[in-house]
């Protein structure tokens, strides 16, 4: 044996901490997302296409109650909530669970970059795509159907952030417990329909029976759609709705953090 002594590992080198590599990973995730052309187009355009289809139905241009908002006006916040819900509970768990199943997360753990950073990069990519999709919905609604842009922008943005927290927390929770990409997708889809039902996709909250609307108030999409609708009309959302969203964010976030497995 030679007498070479190795210096203690890693001395004198800068310590990367926090979320080093986030930029590179986000660019990479975005590129992978866009490379799946069909998926990217569907994700970006589906809500707008649905809005256009609904907008072409004559009865959607009639006021729900005399002098009140038209059905199409009620549907724009629902569409916006749906955009967030699709990316959070369908797309996000599928990607994360697939990455876990195939060992992508595990491989990330063997590098200096923390696997949390990859989760953040995926989330950032989804949020970016969602933002584009949301703006598209609002613009088409305004230009094609004369739906006014959100009157109280600050309230609208606050609601979006809280709603985003609630549905992404839910999505991460699904991602945490789903053993594979396929089950992640399945759970997400199963979850998506009741979420959207209470969000008012089939029956807007304004025309829901009392009991349904009360239940809806306590679901993330119900509270979210209600709050968005209020903000769009120019008033500050009900405290109940914002509180419900915050509660969902905290609850799902904590559970997801606790249950998440890297492999």
């Amino acid at each position: 044996m030679t007498t070479t002594t190795a210096a203690p590992a890693g001395t004198g080198r800068p310590r990367t901490s926090g979320f080093a590599g986030l930029g590179a990973l986000t660019r990479s995730e975005l590129r992978l997302f866009l490379r799946d052309r069909a998926g990217a187009v569907a994700t970006l355009l589906f809500p707008t296409v649905l809005l256009v289809v609904l907008g072409l139905i004559p009865s959607f241009k009639e006021p729900v109650t005399p002098g009140g908002p038209r059905l199409i006006d009620l549907y724009v916040p629902i569409m916006v909530a749906m955009v967030l819900a699709v990316s959070a509970v369908q797309a996000l768990p599928a990607v994360v669970a697939t990455y876990r199943e195939q060992g992508v997360l595990r491989r990330m753990r063997t590098t200096p970059v923390r696997p949390q950073t990859l989760l953040l990069a995926i989330t950032a990519t989804m949020l970016g795509v969602t933002l584009v999709s949301t703006i598209l919905v609002l613009l088409v609604a305004r230009l094609a159907f004369g739906v006014p842009l959100p009157q109280d922008l600050a309230a609208y943005l606050v609601t979006l952030v809280l709603l985003g927290g609630a549905v992404y927390g839910l999505g991460l929770l699904v991602a945490a417990v789903a053993p594979s990409g396929r089950t992640g997708n399945a759970i997400g889809t199963v979850l998506f329909f009741p979420l959207m039902f209470f969000g008012g996709l089939w029956l807007p909250r304004d025309v829901m029976p009392e009991v349904l609307r009360t239940i809806s108030d306590y679901t993330p999409l119900g509270a979210g759609a209600g709050a968005l609708q209020a903000a769009a009309a120019g008033s500050w959302p009900q405290l109940l709705h914002l509180g419900v969203l915050l509660a969902w964010t905290v609850l799902t976030g904590l559970l997801a953090t606790r249950l998440f497995r890297w492999e």
Binding site: T5, A9, G10, S17, L25, Y99, R107, P112
Partner: protein
């Protein structure tokens, strides 16, 4: 000096004791093999070294670092090639290399590594379109991108064709010559015999033996078999009287001697003294496979 020290490592999954008691030291600059039957606890052991699993008992140091406590530091000095770990399907070889390079302060030359592993023509191919062997080679590239001081390679050549396997062995030797300490998990005897300076033989979660490949073979005292056609009849009693000989069989003018240790030299000397020529002399020497079977009581494949 010891680059890796594993002391009394223990890891259980529920009721199942995957690693019961594993201790070994890996010296700087050596290629250290971890060999054992499937389910022996090889992968669990190296995963504890890599900091991917939390041991239930014992201590591990890698370059003086505790894989659990000093994980950030560990990631800079340890290159890991995992058994079946994929990349996103739509990511190309070049993208993966550039992304993983960005994780290190002073990465190795990715193009050179890609070239050394014969992936240059696949640079723009998506991961999902690569063959199993190519995916495996890309995993080796990624493990070496951070210029690790220690590389842990798990089932390095599984899924590679014989030619790629040989190329990969050469690469591992080059990597070692660059001063990297290599831990190789394998169940290929030929690979272990060819590459490893020392081997820890693990069975049922315990270290059965640690030695050089030839040391392991000797240790088993597995018999050698010598066959030849003597130029004239041999006195069997004479052969049996030799200390290393355990049995002698003569049939149709051929002799088959089973023995241990230096039996070949003893037999040929005895024959030469009687001016007997051993024609068609064949010696079957025990190899690592035999040592493996003798030490673990089972075969690998």
């Amino acid at each position: 000096m010891a680059v890796i020290e594993v002391n009394g490592l223990q890891k259980r999954y529920g009721e199942h004791l995957a690693v019961a008691d594993v201790s070994f030291e890996v010296q700087e600059g050596e290629i250290f093999g971890v060999l054992g039957p499937n389910g022996a606890g090889k992968t669990t052991t190296v995963e504890c070294i890599e900091g991917l699993r939390v041991p239930d008992g014992g201590t591990i140091r890698v370059l003086g670092l505790d894989p659990q406590r000093d994980v950030t530091e560990l990631r800079r000095v340890l290159g890991v090639q995992l058994q079946d770990s994929k990349l996103p399907e739509r990511m190309t070889v070049a993208e993966a290399v550039s992304l993983y390079s960005s994780f290190y302060d002073d990465p190795a030359d990715g193009d050179a590594l890609v070239d050394r592993l014969g992936l240059t023509r696949r640079r723009d191919t998506r991961f999902g379109k690569l063959s199993g062997g190519q995916q495996q080679r890309l995993a080796i590239v990624l493990a070496l991108l951070g210029r690790p001081r220690v590389a842990v390679l798990d089932e390095l050549t599984t899924g590679l064709d014989p030619q790629s396997r040989r190329n990969t062995w050469e690469l591992v030797e080059q990597v070692r010559d660059d001063g990297v300490t290599v831990v190789l998990v394998t169940h290929f005897m030929e690979e272990a015999e060819r590459l490893c300076d020392r081997i820890a033989l693990i069975d049922a979660g315990k270290v059965v033996a640690i030695d050089t490949p030839s040391g392991l073979v000797e240790r088993t005292r597995a018999p050698q078999v010598i066959r030849f056609r003597p130029s004239e009849p041999v006195d069997e009693a004479l052969l049996r009287g030799l200390p290393e000989v355990t049995s002698v069989v003569q049939r149709d003018g051929r002799v088959e001697i089973t023995g241990t240790g230096d039996v070949l030299a003893t037999v040929t000397t005895a024959l030469a003294q009687r001016r007997i020529v051993a024609a068609e002399l064949r010696v079957t020497q025990p190899r690592l496979d035999d040592a493996f079977v003798a030490l673990t009581g089972e075969g690998i494949r």
